[in-house]
Every structure is written in C-alpha cells, then in structure tokens.
Symmetry: C2
C-alpha cells in the first residue's frame, strides 16, 4: 500500500489540525531560526522558564523571592532565564532604586496568555503521568 496513510489511529481533530500545519511548514520552508513554534518550545523546553513563569503566575516577585521559591535554582540561571523571558516579552522588569536596589518581575499580558495553553499541557501531563509510567515499565522491563 505504499505510503497510503490516514488511518490506524483515529485522526482526532487536533491531529488533523497539526498535520495541516505541518504540511504548511514543509512547503514554505521552516528556516528554524524564525519558526514561531521553535522559538516558544526553546523556552518552555529549558530547565527553568516554566518554573519561573509559574512562580510569577501567582503575582509579581522579587529576584531573591523567586530564588527562594524554586529549589536548586542558582542565581546564574535565574538571571539568564529572566533575561531571555524578558527579551521575548513574557515578563517585565521593574527596578526600584532603594538603598539596596530591589527589582520586581511580573508577567506581561503576553506572558499571561501563554499560561492558558501551558496550563492545558500541564494538566495533560499530570493526567497522563500514570499511563506514561506504565509505558516505560512495559518498554524497559518486558
């Protein structure tokens, strides 16, 4: 049957949509660099962005407050990740020139809208966790 496809797994609506989007990518060249999806996934995929965004979802926080909130997060990575997030417009930085300078970070409107699809993904991850674990045991052990 050659490359005949479109069956096997019931093609849910989301699948069809993604398949469609993907078809578009191949045709008009996804130069990688300016691929919107890649840009977003490069952030959400790294080690700390999600955690930091999630922390800020509860309200604005100061540098050291975030540091205290997230275990194992170093100053170095916090600084760097905050810079990246700010550059992409997900968060905003406000400096208060007090005696010991204090800096506050908060979600922007853009960052806020990202929370929605992100929450959906998080929900999926938690819901599917048992099934994924089971699949791993099956794959590794048997």
């Amino acid at each position: 049957m050659g490359q005949g496809d479109a069956e096997g797994t019931a093609p849910a609506p989301a699948q069809a949509e993604l398949a469609q989007t993907f078809a578009g990518w191949r045709t008009k060249a996804f130069e990688a660099a300016r691929c919107p999806v890649r840009n977003v996934l490069d952030r959400t995929g790294d080690k700390w962005s999600i955690l930091i965004l999630t922390a800020l979802a509860g309200g604005p926080h100061r540098f050291s407050a975030i540091l205290r909130l997230i275990p194992d997060l170093s100053k170095r990575m916090l600084t760097q990740t905050l810079r990246d997030l700010e550059r992409d417009g997900y968060i905003a930085r406000t400096v208060y020139p007090t005696k010991p300078p204090s800096v506050e970070y908060r979600l922007t409107a853009l960052g806020g809208t990202l929370m929605e699809p992100l929450a959906a993904l998080v929900r999926w991850a938690e819901r599917s966790h048992p099934e994924i674990e089971a699949a791993r045991v099956r794959f590794d052990g048997g």
Copy 2:
C-alpha cells in the same frame, strides 16, 4: 509594599490554576526525576519530537518516509527520538518482516490525546509570533 502580590497583571484563570499547581509542587517536593511535567517537557522541548509527532499525526509512516518528510533530520536522531517516544508510549512500532525489513510508526491513543494541548500551544505560538518578534526588537535595539 513588600511581597504583597496578586495584582499588576490581571490574574487570568489559567494563571491562578498554574500558581495553585506550583504551590502544590513546592510542598510535596518535586524530585525532578518523577515530575510529570518535566517528563513531558523534556520530550516536547527537544529538537525533533514535536516534528516527528506532527508528521505521524497525518497517519502512520515508515522510517525513511519520516526522514524524507523532515529536512535536516538525521538517521541517528530519528532512531533515538523514535525510541524515546515509543518508550513513553506516544507512538507504536510495527515491524513487517519483508525482504528488506520495513517498519511503520504510528501515534498511539496516548500520543493522540497529546496532540490537543500541543495544538493549542502551536496555535498560541503562531498567533503570538509577531508580538514576540516585536518584544525582541524592542529589547535588542532600543
């Protein structure tokens, strides 16, 4: 105003939800290794998983078919990524013992349900692309 938060950006429902989830993480220790979200993001965040899943969203495909569909994807990375995806139960592998062996990969039910939140994220990425680009120009240039 100290740590007083819960304002600045209108706390959308998704934000509140994520903030809630995050609070839970900190309390019951997110050992990283068995964190469901981390498990999922480790996949979606890597270089090829999404592309491959998206390709399979259009229907089952053979090894070399996927290779041809995705530019710049090497055999090495395709093999490795397929293994990881199979291990987590996102895709299924079927071997047809023909003269030159042919192997078909297809989305599982679990993989299919992942497409939904993933499509939402992709949609968000494409919709927000201009705004992100603008933020970058603002940050870099001015």
